[in-house]
């Protein structure tokens, strides 16, 4: 067992701290709990890379990628992951070896994977990090103060038909267009798996405030109770408002059929938090099915966007089928287009000029 001194040296000089652990105060980690099987969601695990697999790089707390090598010492967060094109995994640590579920630093046990995925990068657990009071360090304990009851004047949600349907591009493009039009914009990742790609994209696009659910204490929203995800969203919006954001663009991960996303979108509390939505879809059928499903929960998107918008023919098919205008990423990046979208959102989606006709 490492001494306290050698542990401190390892954590401060050797270990690669992952993105999901970024809010944790490193000097609080002074003990190791060897019983890693007791790990719960959000607990920090110190481990070694046993075998480099699907994830060859780790997103660091510092905001850059680090190549992974066998033997690397890493600080990861135990959690669940839902990614239809990568892994589905749960927050469970096997002392004999765990799986790196996501590049942002989520560790657990892979239950199923997309066929094209290589086996996960394997982690040999060393121990759970503990503080001087023998309490396991958990991301939740370093979250922003929970808040409720405030939000930026306008909140636009970005929903999608599936993973990789174009949500992040749409969200970042809208952030850029609105910022260029003179709005103070917050870019928020509301659900999903902790990773820096999304919030970096929002920051690069000109957001004056960026955050994700890890800032609210969740390393992932998969298998989290709806109330916890709602509370995280509340907290992030209150902090965005306090930072002066006039508009928040909130990306909701995965497709609307994903369990937590579906529950969130159905939630009356969430309906009150959002002024409107745009929907990213990969093809016209997905756009049509999505519009129909969303109509069933009382949502009419202000626009369709996503991968289908790259094809004029696909865009026309979707517009004809749904009556909802399709906007390209160039439309969203254009300050005139973004301003008009905001007007449509404020008008409740089907305002004058909303429909494709």
């Amino acid at each position: 067992m490492p001494t306290e001194l050698s542990l401190t040296r390892t954590l401060q000089h050797t270990a690669k701290w992952s993105f999901t652990s970024r809010r944790v105060k490193r000097d609080h980690a002074v003990r190791l709990e060897r019983d890693v099987a007791r790990a719960a969601t959000g607990d920090l695990l110190l481990g070694r890379v046993a075998l480099v697999g699907a994830h060859r790089r780790l997103q660091l707390a510092a905001g850059r990628y680090a190549d992974l090598y066998e033997g690397d010492v890493v600080v990861l967060a135990c959690g669940c992951r839902y990614a239809s094109e990568q892994f589905e995994g749960i927050a469970s640590i096997d002392p004999a070896g765990a799986d790196l579920l996501a590049g942002g630093g989520l560790v657990g046990h892979v239950r199923q994977a997309h066929q094209r995925m290589q086996p996960p990068t394997r982690i040999l657990p060393i121990g759970l990090l503990g503080n001087p009071q023998n309490r396991i360090l958990n991301v939740r304990d370093y979250a922003l103060p929970a808040r409720r009851g405030g939000r930026p004047p306008l909140v636009v949600g970005v929903l999608g038909s599936a993973m990789n349907s174009g949500k992040t591009v749409a969200a970042a493009s809208l952030v850029h267009g609105l910022a260029r039009a003179g709005h103070a914009v917050a870019g928020i990742k509301g659900t999903g798996t902790g990773a820096f790609g999304d919030i970096n994209a929002y920051a690069d696009a000109g957001a004056t405030f960026v955050a994700d659910f890890t800032d609210a204490g969740l390393v992932s929203t998969y298998r989290q109770p709806l109330a916890g995800v709602e509370a995280a969203l509340d907290t992030l919006l209150v902090h965005a408002s306090a930072a002066g954001a006039e508009v928040a663009v909130v990306e909701i991960a995965d497709g609307v059929f994903q369990a937590e996303t579906a529950a969130l979108v159905r939630s009356p509390r969430v309906h009150r938090l959002f002024d409107g939505f745009v929907f990213a879809a990969g093809d016209p059928l997905a756009a049509t099915a999505g519009a129909t499903w969303l109509a069933g929960v009382g949502i009419v998107p202000a626009a369709t966007t996503g991968l289908l918008s790259r094809s004029p023919l696909a865009a026309s098919e979707a517009e004809d089928a749904t009556g909802i205008a399709v906007l390209t990423r160039e439309d969203l990046r254009d300050p005139a287009g973004a301003t008009a979208l905001l007007a449509r959102v404020r008008a409740g989606g089907r305002a004058a000029g909303t429909t494709a006709a």
Binding site: A336, T339, A352
Partner: protein
């Protein structure tokens, strides 16, 4: 950056123009047009600048100089962008291929950083081709404009179904179909205070007047009749949407299609920038107090 000061005392406003620095700020190609700036020595706290857009003779400096006195009396800067014929040949359209709207947005951001101007919201004026630009810009970005003043526009975008830019209907080319954005912003645009000016003698059809059966039928034959029709069309459309119109039309007696004449004879500068009410206090701060440059986006700090 060439600096110069006006040397007159304006008899109507009483403002001492020696206290106004008038200079040209150089541009950056398509990203930012050059601009003539009239900067009072003392800028009113939070003063909204007047953005004044020239006609096709491109006399930006003249607009900055002729608005300087009234603006200085209010502690407000004037910014007159210069959309060159080479870089912005169709700036009047605002969203033609040269995208003069984006260039103005870029200029305003730059002036906020360099000079500390409060450019997030501003009063917008345009004369002739500049009035064309100004009303289309305000229609696309109504949240940026506090007051829209248009003088002697040759023609307008109407709130009807004619193809954009004549109306808000679909344009022939999707790339230029900004009518859909204007349709979305219709309510916000119609809620703006809009003052339309035209000279009583500005009723000649000249080589710069876009004419033809379709546009004449939609808008009228000359600038005078077009201003009347557009103003009425906006009012009616506002009322149809239960918006109380704040849209006025003012005919300038004895004035033709001449900006200087409209100012000197018609008092256009004082109409666009009316003097403060007696007893109003205008608190000022020294000009050129640039705001700190913004850096990285705010991220929630760790506890």
């Amino acid at each position: 950056m060439p600096l110069g000061t006006a040397s007159l005392v304006d008899t109507r406003s009483g403002a001492d123009l020696d206290e106004v620095a008038i200079f040209e700020r150089l541009g950056q190609g398509r990203l930012e047009p050059p601009a003539w700036v009239a900067m009072p020595a003392a800028v009113a706290a939070g003063a909204e600048p007047l953005i004044a857009v020239h006609g096709i003779l491109r006399r930006a400096e003249e607009q900055a100089r002729l608005f300087a006195a009234c603006a200085a009396a209010l502690g407000r800067p004037v910014v007159a962008p210069l959309f060159s014929a080479e870089t912005f040949p169709r700036y009047q359209r605002a969203v033609h291929r040269d995208r003069a709207d984006l260039a103005l947005l870029g200029l305003l951001d730059a002036l906020a950083a360099e000079l500390g101007l409060a450019t997030r919201r501003f009063a917008l004026f345009g004369f002739s081709g500049g009035a064309q630009f100004a009303h289309r810009f305000a229609w696309l970005y109504p949240h940026r404009v506090t007051h829209l003043s248009l003088a002697a526009a040759g023609w307008y975008t109407f709130p009807d179904d004619a193809p954009f830019p004549y109306g808000l209907g679909p344009a022939a080319k999707r790339r230029l179909d900004f009518g859909r954005h204007c349709r979305a912003n219709l309510r916000d645009f119609l809620a703006l205070p809009i003052d339309v000016f035209v000279g009583a003698a500005d009723n000649a059809v000249d080589e710069n007047t876009r004419s033809g059966p379709a546009i004449d039928s939609q808008q009228g034959r000359n600038r005078l009749s077009r201003a009347e029709r557009w103003t009425m069309a906006l009012r009616l459309r506002a009322l149809s949407l239960d918006i109380a119109p704040r849209i006025t039309l003012r005919i300038l007696d004895g004035c033709g299609h001449d900006f200087r004449q409209c100012v000197e004879l018609g008092g256009l500068d004082g109409l666009v920038l009316p003097p403060p009410n007696e007893g109003d206090q205008v608190s000022t701060y020294p000009a050129y107090a640039a705001v700190p440059a913004t850096g990285e986006p705010c991220q929630p700090s760790c506890p």
